[in-house]
Every structure is written in structure tokens, then in C-alpha cells.
């Protein structure tokens, strides 16, 4: 398995090549950009085969010593175990499909958005994959942090890919700054771990945690809380969730790869990796689930009142990651990672399909200007039906059913009834907003010129990724079982099997009822919804949901405005005034001295003699 480093090397080489030869032809750029990820995916496949042939033993590759300062030693070590292999598969596999799709999407995109470099897009994308792989493979918290910051950077660069639009630049800023807040927490968490353990090696920390950290003490809680802060920032969970919807300003494949399938789930990975720490901090442990639940409900309500197809999907992503956090909160780590993987399949599918819809409709993103598209672009419709079904966890045939129900079941079985109930309510919401979107976009009559003249996309680069992801989003995807038994603890369940079946039936019913309500509300002429929205209270509620519970306005009042006020206050910096004293003195000295340089020999001689006199006098007097 010594070729493990190749997984990260290919995307890095791709990124470097694309960065150096910026003006290369589009075809070559696509070949390099997609090919590097393809090679990575093949390497991952080989690694997986060997890994399973090897009894799933973890493999550590020491590449070089990164930092070595006295006791502080950080190796550039990769670790391949069940958890990182699962993520590796998602990143390179789904990543490859998205890259392939992107080669088509960006080419279409170039027709409207001239002047944006094709190579730049793939350069950032490859760099992102590299960083994400380092994040997942890093056997050291600092190395993981390197990847963590790398993906944050690439996310920023790609959200702001269309940098000529000011709103896009602001969205990139917002994403970068808010995730940075989380990153600072994570960094502090790492410092705290270093203080307690004297190492940042993840495996050492996991092994020694029960001895080093006392359960439930303030230090332990704060350490876990800081790690959680990093995780919620990256994964767009409450209270650092506001950036994700705006991040949709980037190209759609970016939303699929970074803001749905991989980067935003890094927080889930982090908590699963360091779950030992969380288990020693009961309060924070509980908080993980609660935050997940709150996020999934808030995001679910928000998704109900969105008009932009990508924002609907963004809020659904937030809510699905909320489920993963909920799972982490109830110690169902396996279920969380399983849902992470399944979610990557169907959410990538939905995002790519939405990209396809957007291109078909000539860059129209408002769902109320679409309508009736199911006959014009049947493939996208199929994608949305399958992906939407998986998202809503419709029973038996979808992959989402297996992953989400496991979470709900385990939360109930582990005695977190409130979380279970909330999760069930969330499932209900999910079902409604998903099919609301599908019915509005694909059913009814075309609502605008753009949707009337929608054209079906062509090409293998467009079809293949969608078809593969359709298959993976059905129950077929659920057959892929992440090999987590050696990494994460199994959840022990004492409740009976019959109870599980009945709960599954219950959640299936909830999903189907949601679907039915969506059909009743949004198929046909939508008179009831219209009436509701046009009433005073309804409009207010709609506005409230549309702005995602007005978090942006609250944060604006609470943080942005005061910060700007402080900045304005400091424009008249009194410290700067103090610092101005020194130059003033120097200028004064300069004037005084310059007066003596009058160019007259007699005054020079006089000064000389005067100076000598003073010196001699000083030496005489004692």
C-alpha cells in the first residue's frame, strides 16, 4: 500500500499544471482536471481491494517529518483505515463524477460567461480534492488542519469564481469569514489537546484520551466544545450556518462537490474521528445532537420558502448534515458516516441535475419561472425523482431510506426520544419541500420564456455521471457498507426487532404523507398556497422562512454592525496619535541640527573648539 500517497499526488500535480499553463486549450485542461481525479479514484479502488484483502488492517504511511521543534513533532503521515477509506471513496469517486460533469457544465457555461478561465476552475477543483484528501488521510491533527484550511481556501476561491459579480465576491467573503470563526475554535481545540497530550497524533490522542482527560471536567468540555465549534463552522450547522445558502453563488458543480458531497461533511468526519473526546464530555456530546436537530428543523422550514432551486438544495444539505450531527449526538457514528456517504450520492445527483436544468433553462434559477420541464428534459426529471425520493427517504427503493432510518431508529433505541421526534418531523418537512420543488419545476405549465425553450443537454460527460449517481441513489447504493467496524464503536441496541420494523413503517408513512401533502399543495393550481402566502400572517411567515429565520439580520445587528462601528471608531486612532510623537520629535531635532549646518567655516571651527572644551572640562572635573 506504499502507493497511498499517489491518491493525493495526482490532484496536486493536476492543480500545479493547470496553474502554470493557464492558457492551455479547453480540451487539455478538461483532460488534466478530470483525469487526475480519475487516476486518484483508480488508486483508491486498488487501495480498497488491498484493504479488504488485508483484513481491514489500518495502514500508516510516513512521508516525511513536517515540523520538528524540540518535543513538537509533526509527521506528514497518511493513515488509511475504514473511516478514511470510506471518505476517500466518496471524495475521489463522487468527485470524479462531478469533475466529469463539470467539464461539460463549464464548457456550456463559457458560452455565457466569457473571460472566466476554464483552467482556473479545474485548478481550484483539483487543489480542493487534494486538500480534502489530506484532511481525511492526515494522521495528525495539524496535518488534518492543513487540509481543513486548504478546503476552506478552495471553497472561497470557487464561490467567488465569477469574481466580476460583486455579490459573488461578498458570498465568498461571507463563507470564508464565517468558517474562519469555526477554524479558530478548532485551532484552540488543537492547542488544548496539545497541552493535555503533548502530541497532536490522532491515534495517540484516541488511545490515551480516557487516561489523560477526566470525564466531564471543564477542560474536557471546553476542548470538545472547541472541536465542535470547528465542526459546525465547516458543516454549516447552527450557529455558523448562514454562509451555506449564499455559497451557491459558485458554479453548480462546486455546490455539488464542495457544498454538498464533501467539504461540508468534514465536520461530521472530525467528530467521528475524535468521538472519544466527545464521549468524555457529556454536555458537548448532548449539544452535538441538539444542534443537529435544531439545524435540520430550521433548514427544513427555510427550504419550504425558497425560490432559487440551488438554495432549496443548499438548505436540504444543511438539514441532512443536521441528521448526521444528530446521529453523532446519539453515538450512532456508523450511521452518521453511512448517511454521509449516501447523502453524497443523492445530493451530488440533485445538484448536478439542477445544474443541467439551469443550463437547459438558459441560466434561470428561479423555480417559479420553470415549470413543465418533465417532458423537455426527461433525464433531469428522472434524476430529480430518484434523488428527491432518496432525500425524502421513501421506503424500500431508495438509498436514503436505509441511512436515514438507521439514524432515526438508533436515536430512538438509544433513548433520545426528543431527538427522534424532531428527526421524524424533519423527515416530514424534507418530503414536503423536496416534492414541492419537483412539482413546481417539472409539472404544470412553463412559467417563462426560458422554460418554454428549454433544450435537453447532450454528451456522455453530462449523461454518465447522472446515470451512475441515479443508480447509487437507489437501494443499490445502500448495499455499499462502510468498513467502519475497526474504527468506530458499534452501537449496541437492546430494543426488539419488531419495534424497529414498526418505527420504520412509521417514518415511511410520514415521508409518504409529506409527499401527498406536497402533491395536494403544489400540483395543480396551488390556490391554497397562494391564498396562504398572500394573507398578512402568511406573508410574514413566508418572509421569515425565506430568510432562514432571519439569522442574517440578527448577525448583522449583533456582529457586523458593532464590528464596523468599532472599526470606524478606530479610524481616529489615538494610539496612532501617540506614535506620531516620535516622528514629531525627530523632525524637531532635524530642524535644530540643520540650523547648525550653515556652511560657515568659522562657526564650524567654533563648534569644534567648544566641543573640545566641554570634553576637556568634563575630563578635568571629577
Amino acid at each position: 500500500m506504499n502507493y497511498l500517497f499517489l491518491v493525493t499526488l495526482f490532484p496536486l500535480i493536476g492543480a500545479v499544471l493547470l496553474a502554470i499553463f493557464r492558457r492551455m486549450p479547453v480540451n487539455l485542461a478538461a483532460t488534466i482536471g478530470v483525469g487526475s481525479i480519475g487516476l486518484s479514484a483508480l488508486t483508491t479502488l486498488a487501495l480498497a481491494l488491498q484493504f479488504f484483502g488485508n483484513d481491514q488492517t489500518a495502514f500508516v504511511q510516513h512521508l516525511w517529518t513536517w515540523i520538528s521543534v524540540e518535543a513538537f513533532e509533526v509527521g506528514f503521515d497518511y493513515r488509511l483505515d475504514g473511516l478514511s477509506l470510506t471518505l476517500l471513496g466518496v471524495i475521489t469517486g463522487v468527485g470524479f463524477l462531478i469533475h466529469l460533469f463539470a467539464s461539460w457544465y463549464m464548457r456550456e457555461d463559457l458560452k455565457d460567461q466569457v473571460d472566466y478561465l476554464y483552467t482556473r476552475f479545474f485548478c481550484y477543483m483539483n487543489l480542493f480534492v487534494f486538500s480534502m484528501l489530506v484532511l481525511v488521510l492526515g494522521n495528525n491533527l495539524l496535518l488534518m488542519f492543513l487540509g481543513w484550511e486548504g478546503v476552506g481556501l478552495c471553497s472561497y476561491l470557487l464561490i467567488g469564481y465569477y469574481y466580476r459579480g460583486e455579490a459573488n465576491a461578498w458570498a465568498a467573503f461571507k463563507a470564508f469569514i464565517i468558517t474562519r470563526v469555526g477554524d479558530v475554535f478548532l485551532a484552540i481545540g488543537m492547542f488544548l489537546i496539545w497541552i493535555q497530550f503533548g502530541t497532536l497524533d490522532i491515534q495517540t490522542v484516541i488511545a490515551q484520551a480516557p487516561e489523560v482527560m477526566a470525564e466531564g471536567t471543564l477542560l474536557t468540555e471546553v476542548t470538545a466544545l472547541m472541536l465542535l465549534g470547528g465542526a459546525v463552522g465547516k458543516s454549516a450547522q447552527l450557529p455558523l450556518q448562514t454562509w451555506l445558502a449564499d455559497a451557491m453563488a459558485g458554479p453548480t458543480p462546486v455546490s455539488a462537490l464542495i457544498h454538498a458531497a464533501t467539504m461540508v461533511t468534514a465536520g461530521v468526519y472530525l467528530i467521528a474521528r475524535t468521538h472519544v473526546v466527545f464521549e468524555l464530555a457529556p454536555f458537548t456530546d448532548e449539544l452535538v445532537g441538539v444542534l443537529g436537530l435544531l439545524t435540520l428543523l430550521i433548514a427544513g422550514f427555510s427550504a419550504l420558502a425558497q425560490t432559487d432551486i440551488k438554495r432549496v438544495l443548499a438548505y436540504s444539505t444543511m438539514s441532512q448534515i443536521g441528521y448526521m450531527f444528530l446521529a453523532l449526538g446519539v453515538h450512532a457514528y456508523g450511521a452518521a458516516i453511512f448517511h454521509l456517504m449516501i447523502h453524497a450520492f443523492f445530493k451530488a445527483l440533485l445538484f448536478l441535475a439542477s445544474g443541467s436544468v439551469i443550463i437547459s433553462c438558459h441560466h434561470e434559477q428561479n423555480i417559479f419561472k420553470m415549470g413543465g420541464l418533465r417532458k423537455k428534459i426527461p433525464l433531469a426529471y428522472a434524476c430529480f425523482v430518484v434523488g428527491g425520493a432518496a432525500l425524502s427517504a421513501l421506503p424500500i427503493v431508495t438509498s436514503g431510506f436505509y441511512s436515514k432510518d438507521e439514524i432515526l431508529w438508533l436515536s430512538f433505541a438509544n433513548g433520545h426520544t426528543v431527538l427522534w421526534l424532531g428527526g421524524l418531523a424533519g423527515a416530514f418537512l424534507t418530503s414536503i419541500y423536496t416534492f414541492r420543488m419537483i412539482f413546481i419545476v417539472f409539472h404544470g405549465k412553463p412559467a417563462s420564456h426560458a422554460s418554454e425553450h428549454a433544450h435537453a443537454p447532450q454528451g456522455i460527460a453530462h449523461h454518465l455521471p447522472l446515470l451512475v449517481l441515479i443508480v447509487l441513489s437507489t437501494f443499490v447504493g445502500a448495499f455499499i457498507t462502510p468498513p467502519l467496524s475497526n474504527v468506530l464503536p458499534e452501537t449496541e441496541v437492546t430494543a426488539s426487532h419488531a419495534l424497529q420494523i414498526s418505527l420504520e413503517v412509521l417514518s415511511s408513512v410520514v415521508a409518504i404523507v409529506g409527499l401527498g401533502i406536497a402533491a395536494a399543495l403544489f400540483l395543480g393550481r396551488r390556490r391554497f398556497v397562494k391564498g396562504l402566502v398572500e394573507s398578512d400572517e402568511g406573508a410574514k411567515l413566508w418572509q421569515f422562512f425565506n430568510s432562514a429565520f432571519a439569522f442574517d439580520a440578527i448577525y448583522d445587528r449583533l456582529f457586523v454592525k458593532p464590528y464596523l462601528a468599532i472599526a470606524r471608531l478606530h479610524r481616529y486612532d489615538w494610539i496612532d496619535k501617540l506614535a506620531g510623537i516620535f516622528p514629531g520629535l525627530v523632525k524637531l531635532g532635524n530642524s535644530a541640527m540643520s540650523a547648525s549646518q550653515n556652511g560657515q567655516l568659522r562657526s564650524y571651527a567654533a563648534t569644534f573648539v567648544l566641543g573640545a572644551l566641554v570634553i576637556v572640562a568634563a575630563l578635568l572635573v571629577s
Binding site: 525627530v586 532635524n590 549646518q597 576637556v616 575630563l619
Partner: protein, 499 residues
């Protein structure tokens, strides 16, 4: 006194320069030819430089240090500084050739003066006796008056020569008086002999201290240490640029070397005296930097900056009090550090001064009276190589890392911190902070665009060679800045006689 072959061999560098003076004089008498005489002088200096290596290498530790007479010692210390002086003089000849080539004056005698002055400097660094100190100093200074006033048709130049002459005479009288006082007290003129007497007495009487103090005043003038600095910028500005370069390098190095040697061989442990020197150092740093702050004439600015730099260097002499611990000629560890610091600082200072004055000599018009920084404005457009070198040299003068100037300044700071001279350390820092302003301002000036059509690229013979010297100086500055080890080793092996 009998001179053996060994003695003559040790004196080889001085002899060669002396012969060169005669040869150039005869050559000028036969035929005026600028190129020929400049080349002859240059060759003489190169031969002398080679002989320095020869003497140093053939020594095998047996013959050196050689006390040629009670007056002159050829040891590794004097050889090191003779080498430095020869390199500086050589560079000055190259600059002078390019500079005077454009002038319609009798140019050839200049090299004669320069060689004489160089010979004086070489005697000075080898001096271990009051008499040779004075002879060396005057041999160095007297030709300099002529050199400063060489373009006598220009009033500024003439004025510079006369100012230097008059004030120099005052300084020499102080020096002589100081020597006389010491002779009156101890009846000795040799440094080492004087040192033995000084160490043997428990208590230095007032006249001894005043005698040394007056010598310090005399030498401080040559080093342009405040408050004896007034002449510096006027002379630097008025004199031809190569002469300013010579003044800033050769004369400063020679005087400082002999000052350090004097304080090592004839140590005075008077707290008062060293306090006075410390005050002079602080005054120089502040005065030099403050004066340079708003000076827009590049030669004046460099003059002021040299005042400040000599102030930094003077801290080495202050620290020497504790460095010469066990009597005359014995150096403690901190004394060793003083020698190291002095050598490294002087090498860096000489290189950067040569570079900056070289650029001024090459890039400005010899016959223009007004040599403002505005004349260097836009240098980057006309002479990009010179501009980059100049910028780098200015950074070195400012003490930015990766330059020789930084290493030197680091040594000075280390000295003050080791000696726990906090006031000196503070003023080094304050002085450097002020210095940064005008050095950087000058760099900005170099790269500003200019629309002055009258400023044209200077072309003439010797420009290319001059530029090469500047580039070499810049390269060496960078090299020492990155990798100072060889220079430090070289300086450390250069110990004065009696150690």
C-alpha cells in the same frame, strides 16, 4: 636599527605603493595620458594587494607579527586593514577614472595624490608609535586636501578642500597636544611601552586622561564624530564623488583601526574617558541620523549617514574598556568580540559606502554643481543595474537582514548588550529607526519616474568597469549578509601585535 630582508618583505605592500607613486609621477612627467596613468596606479595597487596575500601566506606563523621598527608593525591585523584599504582605493581609482574622463582638467595628478594618501593610510594601520601615527595621519590627510579641491574651478570643490584643511589642522593640533601630554607624563611614545606604564600605575592622573582625551578629539574629527562632524557633509558634497568615496572609506578605516589598536595596546581604564566616548557615540548616532532626515542631496545624505555609522562603530571602543582586562595587550573574550565586530562592521561599511558613492560618481555629472537626490531620481529607468545595486546598498546601510550592514549592526547590538550598555543599545535602535526613513525615501526616489529630459545617461570610458565594481560590491554585501562565516573567520585571524 637594522633592516633585514624579513623586515623589507613584511613592508612589501607599502614599498610597492611607494614605488607606484614614483612610477606614476615619472609617467605623468613624460606624457599626460589619463588611461595610462590610471592603469598604472591601478596595477600598482593590485600588485600591493597581491603582496599582502603573499606576505600573509608565506608567514607560516613564524615571521609575523614583525615589528619592523619600534614604529611600524606588520601583523595580521595591519595586513587585514591594509587589504581593505587597498581594495577601497582600487575601487576609488575605477570610479575616478569614469568620473574625470568627462572633465577638462589635468586629471593625471589626481592618482598621484590618491596613491600618497593610500600609503599614508597603510602606514596608519601599521602604526604602533605616536610618531608613525602622526606621520601616517598627515600623509593620508594632506593629499586629501588637494583631492577634495581637485576641481578647483568649481567653487564648492575649492571650498571643501579649504574647510577640510583648516579644521584638519585644528584637529591635528589637538592630537599633537595630547601626545605631548602623554610623553610629558611617561616619557614614552610607543603604544606598547606606554601601555606598560599605564597598567603599572594604580591611578591615572588627570593629565594622562586629558592627553588621551585630546588624542581622541583629534581622531574623532577624522572619523567625523559629533560634535566634530560639521565639516563632513560640506566636504562630501563639494568634493568630487570619488574623493568622497575615498574619504568615507579609506580614511575612516585607517583612523578607526589605529584607534582600536591604541586602546588595546595602551588601555586606559578611566570610567570618565569611556563615558565621554560613549556620549560622543550617542551624539553621533542621533546627530547623523537627524541631519540626514530631510537632506535631499545624496552626497550630503551619505555624509550624514557616515556620521551615524561611525557613531555605531564607536560603541566598540567603549566596550574595549572591559575588553582589555588583564593589562596591556591582553584581550578578554569581550575584547575579542570587539575586534570581530569592528572588522565585520568596517568590511560591510566599506563595501556599501563604495557602492553608494560609486553609483553617485557614475550616475551624476561631474560638472553639475547641484547634486540632489533628484538627480538620482528615475535612475532605475536610465541605469537599472546601478539603481538596483544602489537600492540594495541603501538597505544594507539601513541594516536590513540579508545584507552585510545587518550583520555589522547585529554585532554592534550584541556588543552593547554584552557590555550592558543599555543607553548605547537604545540609541543604536532609535538611530536605526530614524535611518530607515531616509534610506527608504532615497530608494523610492530611485524608482520614481522622471520627465527631466536634460538628465541623460552618462556614457564615457570606465563606466562599464565602474558598474562592475558596484555590482561586485553589492554581490559581496549580499554574500556576507547571507553567509558571514568566512569574513568572521578572516577577521578573527587578524590580531594586532602583542596578542
Amino acid at each position: 636599527m637594522n633592516l633585514t630582508l624579513t623586515h623589507l618583505f613584511a613592508l612589501l605592500p607599502l614599498i610597492i605603493v611607494g614605488i607606484t607613486v614614483v612610477v606614476v609621477m615619472l609617467s605623468v612627467a613624460c606624457r599626460r595620458n589619463h588611461f595610462l596613468n590610471a592603469t598604472l596606479s591601478g596595477c600598482g595597487l593590485i600588485l600591493a594587494l597581491l603582496s599582502v596575500f603573499w606576505v600573509q601566506c608565506s608567514d607560516h606563523g613564524s615571521q609575523l607579527p614583525t615589528l619592523v621598527s619600534p614604529m611600524v608593525a606588520v601583523d595580521s591585523y595591519s595586513l587585514f586593514y591594509i587589504g581593505l584599504i587597498l581594495v577601497a582605493a582600487l575601487a576609488c581609482i575605477v570610479f575616478a577614472y569614469a568620473y574625470f574622463d568627462r572633465l577638462k582638467v589635468h586629471r593625471e595628478e589626481f592618482y598621484l595624490l590618491l596613491l600618497c594618501s593610500t600609503l599614508g593610510a597603510m602606514v596608519l594601520v601599521s602604526a604602533v608609535h605616536m610618531a608613525s601615527l602622526f606621520i601616517g595621519l598627515e600623509l593620508m590627510s594632506v593629499p586629501l586636501y588637494g583631492m577634495a579641491a581637485y576641481i578647483f574651478k568649481r567653487q564648492q570643490s575649492l571650498e571643501a578642500g579649504i574647510k577640510y584643511l583648516v579644521l584638519s589642522a585644528v584637529a591635528s593640533s589637538f592630537l599633537l597636544f595630547g601626545m605631548a601630554l602623554l610623553f610629558a607624563a611617561y616619557g614614552e611614545l610607543g603604544f606598547a611601552e606606554l601601555g606598560l606604564k599605564l597598567v603599572s600605575v594604580d591611578y591615572l592622573d588627570t593629565w594622562t586622561i586629558i592627553g588621551v582625551g585630546m588624542m581622541v578629539i583629534g581622531l574623532a574629527f577624522k572619523l567625523s564624530v559629533a560634535p566634530f562632524h560639521m565639516w563632513t557633509s560640506d566636504v562630501y558634497e563639494g568634493a568630487p564623488a570619488p574623493v568622497s568615496a575615498f574619504l568615507a572609506t579609506v580614511s575612516k578605516v585607517a583612523v578607526f583601526a589605529v584607534l582600536v589598536r591604541f586602546f588595546i595596546l595602551a588601555p586606559t581604564f578611566s570610567v570618565k574617558l569611556h563615558t565621554v566616548i560613549a556620549v560622543l557615540a550617542v551624539l553621533s548616532m542621533l546627530t547623523g541620523n537627524l541631519l540626514a532626515l530631510r537632506s535631499h542631496n545624496i552626497k550630503r545624505l551619505l555624509g550624514y549617514s557616515s556620521i551615524a555609522h561611525l557613531g555605531y562603530l564607536l560603541t566598540a571602543v567603549v566596550v574595549l574598556r572591559s575588553g582589555v582586562s588583564d593589562g596591556a595587550g591582553e584581550l578578554s573574550e569581550s575584547g575579542q568580540l570587539v575586534l570581530e565586530a569592528t572588522g565585520v562592521y568596517l568590511v560591510g561599511y566599506v563595501l556599501t559606502s563604495l557602492g553608494t558613492f560609486g553609483v553617485v560618481a557614475l550616475a551624476t555629472h561631474a560638472d553639475s554643481a547641484n547634486r540632489d537626490t533628484s538627480e538620482l531620481r528615475g535612475l532605475a529607468q536610465r541605469r537599472p543595474v546601478l539603481a538596483v545595486c544602489m537600492a540594495f546598498m541603501l538597505l544594507s546601510l539601513a541594516g536590513i537582514p540579508l545584507t552585510a550592514g545587518f550583520i555589522g549592526k547585529f554585532y554592534v547590538l550584541a556588543l552593547t548588550v554584552n557590555g550592558e550598555l543599555w543607553w548605547l543599545a537604545a540609541s543604536v535602535i532609535v538611530g536605526s529607526a530614524i535611518g530607515l526613513y531616509y534610506y527608504l525615501r532615497t530608494i523610492v526616489e530611485l524608482f520614481l519616474p522622471t520627465d527631466d529630459a536634460t538628465v541623460t545617461a552618462a556614457n564615457g570610458r570606465g563606466q562599464a568597469l565602474g558598474a562592475l565594481v558596484v555590482v561586485i560590491a553589492a554581490a559581496l554585501t549580499l554574500w556576507i549578509g547571507i553567509f558571514p562565516e568566512p569574513i568572521i573567520t578572516m577577521v578573527n585571524s587578524a590580531l594586532p601585535v602583542g596578542l
